[in-house]
């Protein structure tokens, strides 16, 4: 026991920690800044997405529980409870399909909107103001547009996973008779982004939270949920209320979803309008988000 440290050279006995440290340490060098800059330029959005996903991973069980619990709850309450009553009293009122099949695609699309409404409000404020998490990556080789895109990528993945689980449960309830039903998943994700990205741009412009986000939930998300042909066809509403549906991404997403899950007839020109409207809103929000982020971070 005279020499507790520094094992004799050449002794490689199962790789002790000390030995590994002494051999591994001198090789530990970061690649040169030019390489960092080049990698950041090419993959920066993915690096930021990775960060966001790691944060989400921290509360993955909550996310999974929400993704499973939310559809199960809604489908039982509306699609089984309420549907029994509706189907008995007015058979054929929903184009020959069950009430459950009628509302399932609407509930799916509204779930992505609700999630987008949360993910593109408070966390954005957190990034700029509360915990200022955007300012860390902003000082790194990442560009502002990559912070924006990276976060969008992460939320898109989250919405995709959530919608896939939702659709799986809808299918298990037998509420998606069409073979094309699965395509309601990307439509629902697009629907969430078409509402979420303009909201992201708006959130980035909020200097101080005076309850704006609560107002968004109460006076934007909730009316949209109730008046977008979610629980009854939009045409049932008096004409002076139907415009809420027309401007609501939820209505456009729901119509597409219905077409895909149970073959609800939508003329081609209207399909094009639905898709263009959703894509248009998403792209507009995305561009605006780039602008507001760049302006605020570059002050």
């Amino acid at each position: 026991m005279t020499e507790p440290s520094s094992p004799p050279a050449g002794v490689d006995n199962g790789g002790t920690t000390a030995n590994q440290m002494t051999t591994a340490k001198p090789q530990l060098h970061a690649h040169p800044p030019q390489v960092s800059a080049e990698r950041a330029r090419r993959f920066g959005s993915w690096y930021y997405a990775e960060h966001s996903l790691r944060v989400m991973n921290g509360y993955r069980w909550t996310l999974i529980a929400y993704s499973v619990g939310n559809p199960v709850m809604y489908l039982f309450a509306m699609g089984v409870g309420l549907a029994t009553l509706v189907d008995q009293n007015s058979p054929g009122a929903f184009g020959g399909v069950s009430y459950l099949a009628f509302i399932a695609p609407a509930l799916l699309a509204s779930a992505t909107i609700m999630t987008a409404a949360t993910e593109f409000t408070y966390p954005v404020m957190d990034g700029f103001k509360w915990r200022r998490v955007y300012y860390g990556p902003h000082a790194s080789p990442l560009g502002v547009h990559q912070i924006v895109n990276g976060y969008i990528i992460a939320i898109t993945l989250r919405l995709t996973l959530m919608s896939a689980i939702y659709f799986g449960i809808v299918a298990a309830f037998g509420a998606s008779p069409s073979l094309w039903g699965w395509a309601a998943v990307p439509v629902a994700v697009l629907c969430g982004l078409s509402f979420g990205l303009p909201l992201m741009a708006y959130s980035a412009s909020v200097q101080e939270d005076k309850g704006q986000f609560a107002l968004v939930m109460r006076f934007l998300v909730t009316p949209m949920f109730l008046f977008s042909g979610t629980f009854f066809p939009l045409a049932t509403l008096p004409i002076y209320l139907q415009w809420i549906g027309w401007i609501s991404p939820l209505w456009h997403g729901t119509q597409l979803g219905r077409m895909l899950t149970y073959g609800f007839p939508v003329p081609l020109w209207l399909v094009v309008i639905h898709v263009l409207y959703l894509v248009g809103l998403a792209v507009l929000g995305w561009r605006l988000a780039h602008r507001t982020y760049a302006r605020r971070l570059g002050k």
Binding site: A24, K25, L28, H29, A30, H31, P33, Q34, V35, S36, A37, E38, R39, A40, R41, F43, G44, Y47, Y48, E50, H51, R54, V55, G58, R131, R132, V133, Y134, Y135, G136, P137, H138, A139, S140, P141, L142, G143, L297, G298, K299
Partner: protein, 313 residues
């Protein structure tokens, strides 16, 4: 002054100016920082230190003038410039939803560094920052000093040759400050160029080879701490207290003693090369202060002389 080409300087600013509307936060400043130097920006709040740092860090656009970091203009080569830097901002912006070690890993990924490098590097930096036993803790459970050390560890993940530190020890207790100074001194010894802002004189004296005193966006003085003291103050300072009411009236009777006299509400300062001799002169005039203190001139005297004694918010 030795002739140097701009290539010898890691940072070079010429007539650097930044306006916010009509307000000139940084007003026509020029300086050069050679590699390996520890360079300080000293000044009161609102002097333009942080704005200068943000321009060097490539995250804020200048209004006019020129600026190069490693020979690159941060406005044209933002990512390339930022890839060279480690940045410790004034306010911590760690991700509190991630654990301590994950903060380092995630940050390293922004530089495209592979996990095979990042994992052992993160452990090495946690050790450097004396946070090894906190590796798996949540960031919000850390003390202020620990968060600061983690922020410094994070800024080193890409092995930067230039480290920007914006008020690195503001708000920390003395123990935490000394630990940080020790860590920064080691970095300096290893050849890292340190650029730091501070309004702590002792910090500037401890860490800076050379510094500029800035006030209202302008450079008031430049030099090593010792040179600044030599040029802008005397060797010693005699501090006399006669009681709050009497200080200013007594000051009139003290005229002629020392090189310069400064009456303050709570004491009178006499700047002189020999404090004890000045004190003898005071007593020989029949004046007996309640307390007297002879001390060496410090950077604080220079700072207060150059930036004034009125309160800046």
């Amino acid at each position: 002054m030795p002739t140097s080409t701009p290539r010898d300087y890691v940072i070079s600013a010429r007539n650097l100016t930044k306006h916010y509307g009509d307000f000139a936060a940084v007003d026509d400043i020029s300086f050069d920082v050679p590699a390996g130097e520890s360079f300080g920006l000293l000044g009161p709040n609102g002097a333009g230190k942080s704005t200068t740092m943000r321009m060097i860090g490539g995250v804020s656009q200048r209004t006019s003038g020129s600026l190069t970091i490693m020979g690159l203009d941060p406005e044209q080569h933002g990512p390339q410039v930022r890839a060279h830097l480690g940045v410790v901002p004034q306010q911590d912006n760690l991700d509190e939803e991630l654990r301590v070690r994950d903060n380092l890993l995630v940050y390293g990924r922004y530089f495209g560094l592979p996990m095979s490098y990042l994992k052992p590097k993160a452990d090495e930096l946690l050790e450097f920052a004396q946070l090894t036993d906190k590796a798996k803790s949540k960031v919000d459970s850390l003390s202020g000093g620990m968060k600061r050390r983690l922020t410094i560890a994070r800024s080193l993940i890409n092995e930067p040759k230039i480290l920007l530190l914006d008020e690195p020890t503001t708000g920390l207790d003395p123990q935490a400050r000394h630990v940080l100074w020790d860590r920064l001194f080691r970095l300096k010894e290893s050849g890292v160029t340190l650029i730091l802002t501070t309004h702590y004189m002792d910090e500037a004296e401890q860490l800076c080879d050379r510094l500029v005193v800035v006030d209202k966006g302008k450079i008031m003085a430049e030099g090593s701490p010792a040179r600044l003291i030599r040029e802008h103050s005397t060797r010693e300072v005699l501090e006399l207290r006669f009681g709050s009411e009497r200080n200013t009236t007594v000051a009139a009777e003290l005229q002629g003693i020392g090189d310069r006299l400064e009456p303050l509400p709570d004491r009178v300062l006499i700047y002189t090369h020999d404090g004890e001799a000045a004190l003898e002169q005071v007593t020989s005039r029949g004046l007996h202060p309640i307390t007297s203190l002879v001390r060496r001139s410090s950077l604080e005297d220079v700072f207060l002389r150059l930036t004034g004694r009125s309160l800046v918010d």
